[in-house]
Symmetry: C2
Subunit: 122 residues, 2 copies
């Protein structure tokens, strides 16, 4: 179990749209920062935000365009796709993950243009 | 000269605010894509956009928060800083670079929230 394999597993796991299963990837005090918004600390806060885009979606997919790691830090380039009602959202994203020696994500920072996301939701 | 060292050199070089020196890092047909905007192809187009933020700035700095590579692809997490007139801009960015075997950048994709940039310019 390497930092890279943890992040690959996490990106695959989002497709199952199971918030509890995703929370198990994080440390109790993990920080999830969608860079255009305020950072969130802790599993409860992370659960709330994951639920916002996962629960209403009928399809979620994080396509890994590129992935590279340096020590405990894993950097990703992705296309995140959501189907929410009749809207298809395709969002170019880069994300940085920090993984503990125990294989838990303690930090997740996603960089994207918020307007590109909201414009597609109409 | 590795893909990583080319990207580190490039990020350091921006501080000199010399557009011609920066262009020398790119292939003739390089693609520069600020993800919220349309991609630009070729040195002339890249020069125009670099000049837009470098020429009016009295200070430019790309701080590397993290860097990792996989083959020819180098992924960066950065804080880009600009001083333009009396405005100080500090922009969280992730960028993906593709480097040729000859050590030239053939693709540069920067992911950031455009509103975070424009709001700081006032």
């Amino acid at each position: 179990m390497t930092p890279e394999s943890v992040v690959r597993d996490f990106c695959r796991a989002v497709a199952r749209r199971d918030v509890d299963a995703l929370l198990a990837f994080f440390t109790d005090d993990a920080v999830y920062h969608n860079i255009p918004l305020a950072p969130l600390t802790g599993r409860d806060a992370i659960a709330g935000t994951l639920a916002q885009f996962i629960t209403p979606a009928s399809h979620v997919e994080f396509e890994l365009v590129a992935l590279a790691s340096s020590g405990a830090t894993v950097l990703t380039e992705r296309v995140d796709r959501f189907v929410i009602g009749d809207k298809r959202v395709e969002l170019p994203v880069m994300g940085a993950f920090e993984v503990t020696p125990e294989g838990k994500i303690r930090a997740w920072r996603d960089y994207f243009d918020m307007q590109q996301f909201t414009a597609q939701l109409g």
